[in-house]
């Protein structure tokens, strides 16, 4: 519905992706001087983060992103993140990429749902960007790119009305409708129920600009207040202390969108069929070819703007596993419920040969390298380090 939703969706999902990757990379890194040639180091981690962030905030890509447009399907968007995640020497198998995407989307769904005001989605976005700036604080070049995007966000969204923000929020909620994947960290923190639904508190500060419920005021025909009554409910609300900052720098006040992961709080998901209504997934499976064509055009524009740095000649890509072991990752791939699979876009569905060729070229750069023999890659020894996570 709202044609201004995509930048917010992309940046917030991207922010969550970076939180997760950063946590996994930290959990597996070895101090530089002690590491063997084929082991992850802190330097590797920073490089992966820098590469992905540089790609995400590429000027041409951002230009395409900020153009007013409708949201496309989950599978079209997933293709963009596939490419982004492979913007560096890191490689992810399908199962790990699926898990990464599940975590990203459930996290942002939670944030959108719990935003006190629709406008607070902007504060959530700023929280993600603040954290991203911290990831690359040693790289002024990339920092500039991120600040540029920050300014563009302020320019695009600061003047929107509350009603327009609510439309953006409603558009996002339709996008996330029927997703009930259980996330371990949410279950532990009791923000998600075992049926996959989020807990909506009925206590705490009311949104900025809202009064605590309870007061009824009656006015006479002269406009004078003539009566006051109160009503009570089970809710336990309080007045908020201050409003978050919408400037380039400032205290956002809102905690939604800040990094909830740490080395001691690992990421896990349960692939649950608890979602009774899989109608929205079913609907995506029967999307006809004409729809795929428009999505391919969108992807070609967006991905065409991404400038992926290819790994140098002597370097090999090495694998990051979002699961604890290789076996777990394989098992997840085999047992992923059909209704939760993100079906990869079929390029052959494109009708225009020219467009198809262009997209093939772009996506061709995305080809994931086959796992190398054990002697060459960091991936294999990485597995040995994953015990105890």
């Amino acid at each position: 519905m709202s044609a201004r939703t995509l930048p917010l969706l992309f940046l917030n999902l991207g922010g969550e992706m970076l939180y997760i990757l950063d946590q996994r990379l930290r959990a597996q890194s070895i101090p530089g001087e002690k590491a063997r040639k084929d082991e992850w180091t802190d330097v590797d981690r920073k490089r992966v983060m820098n590469d992905i962030i540089t790609t995400m905030f590429n000027k041409k890509f951002m230009e395409e992103l900020f153009k007013p447009q409708e949201l496309y399907s989950k599978k079209a968007l997933r293709t963009v993140y596939d490419r982004l995640a492979h913007a560096s020497i890191m490689r992810l198998n399908q199962a790990s990429m699926d898990k990464l995407y599940d975590l990203m989307t459930m996290a942002f769904k939670y944030q959108v749902l719990l935003c006190p005001r629709p406008k607070d989605i902007l504060l959530v976005t700023f929280n993600h960007l603040d954290a991203i700036k911290d990831f690359i604080r040693d790289s002024p070049g990339i920092l500039n790119q991120v600040d540029e995007t920050f300014r563009q966000l302020i320019e695009t969204y600061s003047c929107l009305s509350a009603g327009e923000f609510q439309l953006i929020r409603q558009t996002l909620l339709i996008f996330f409708q029927d997703m009930h994947i259980r996330v371990s960290i949410f279950l532990k923190d009791k923000v998600q129920n075992s049926n996959g639904r989020f807990v909506l508190p009925i206590s705490g500060p009311v949104p900025w600009g809202t009064e605590v419920p309870g007061l009824i005021r009656i006015f006479n025909h002269n406009g004078d207040e003539v009566k006051r009554t109160e009503f009570t409910t089970d809710g336990n609300y309080v007045t908020p202390q201050r409003e978050g900052s919408f400037d380039l720098y400032g205290d956002r006040v809102l905690k939604l969108g800040t990094n909830m992961y740490s080395v001691s709080r690992p990421v896990e998901t349960h692939m649950s069929g608890s979602s009774k209504n899989l109608a929205s997934h079913a609907k995506e499976n029967i999307v006809p070819n004409p729809l795929a064509k428009e999505e391919l055009n969108f992807l070609a524009r967006l991905l065409g703007g991404m400038e992926i740095k290819k790994p140098g000649g002597s370097e090999t890509g090495f694998r990051l596993n979002l699961f604890t072991t290789d076996e777990e990752e394989e098992h997840a791939a085999l047992t992923r419920p059909e209704e939760l699979s993100y079906k990869v876009i079929n390029i052959e569905a494109a009708q225009e040969p020219g467009r198809r060729a262009e997209l093939s070229r772009i996506l061709g750069e995305m080809e994931v390298a086959e796992p190398r023999p054990p002697s060459a890659g960091k991936g294999e020894d990485l597995l040995a380090l994953m015990d105890g996570l």
Binding site: M1, S2, A3, R4, P68, E70, L113, P116, P118, S161, A162, G163, E164, Q166, L167, R169, Q170, L173, I174, Q177, D178, H180, N193, R197, F198, L200, I202, V206, P207, G209, T210, E211, V212, P213, G214, L215, I216, R217, I218, F219, N220, H221, G223, V226, K227, T229, T232, T233, D234, G235, Y237, K276, N277, A279, S280, K283, P290, L291, K293, E294
Partner: protein, 341 residues
Amino acid sequence: PPPRRMYRKEKSIQLKSSSAALYNNLSVLRLPGRQLACFSAVHGPSVNVVSAAADGLGFSHRQLQAKEGGMAVSTSVLTQAAWCVLPSRVLLVLTSQKGIQMYESDGSIMVYWHALDITEHPPAEAVFARGIAAAGGRFICVGTSSGLVLVFDIPPKGTNITVSEVLEEHHDAITDIAAELGQAPDGAGDLVTADDAGTLCVWSAGEEFALLSKIPAFGCTCSSVKLWNGVVAAGYGNGQIRLYEAATGLLRAEVNAHARWIYALDLAPQTGKLLSGAEDSFVHVWKLSRNPDTNDVEIEHCHAECVTDTQVCGARFCDPEGNSFAVTGYDLSEIFRYSQA
């Protein structure tokens, strides 16, 4: 005093798919003498239409799709579905990003399609229709995202529906439209329209609609509106309900009703009960009345219902006295029902 419990929860009605987070996302049709109540809730690109027999036995389900409208390739999302009761017929009206679809009341046949003129809207802005009400015993009024209100002239039967007028008073997307449900005092109007900025317009309906009063915005979206005995009841994004005199626009009551954005209001015309549902998980029942001595409008709180872990998006009374009501919530595949204990 402790919260009052006037209603108790009844058996839910299961839906084929979940409800979307859209304003006023529940419509109820009660056909008197037929013991049948119908419910409709928008899922997204489709709407669920359920017919339930009053004895609770037997449901029939239907899903209607948003019409693509010709050359369009992207899927269209529905914004609202509502039954419009006219003296001679009942139509089910759907609004979407592409236009307006009108069906026979059971959803079996589409009798009319009106495509929105994309060129009328500024580029880069969202385009959609939203806000549906029957008015003046003869018309169906539908709002658009550019602030226009289309007035459709509905013949007693058949498909010869025409646009009789376009009302151009709002500058922001229409959110809701409501017709007078009771008896309007002189000059109090037949119809109220509300928009994203919070502006309300009161109209008299007829061959030519006339603007009677304009209630200015105060900085909050009005997402839902009702008109009863010359009183406008409006629900806002800051959780407030405000009551105004329709004829003069005078503010008569201000209620800090909800902790978050109000999504739905409904009114039971026989008793003046008002229902409100919001993102804060609460549904409240209020009672509107007129003090016979002072002529002041009064409102009192009757019942609070917390729909746990649910952002309420639709709420409707199921009968004209307000003895029962139904609720929908975002991401929920059921309609909750409550009736007076």
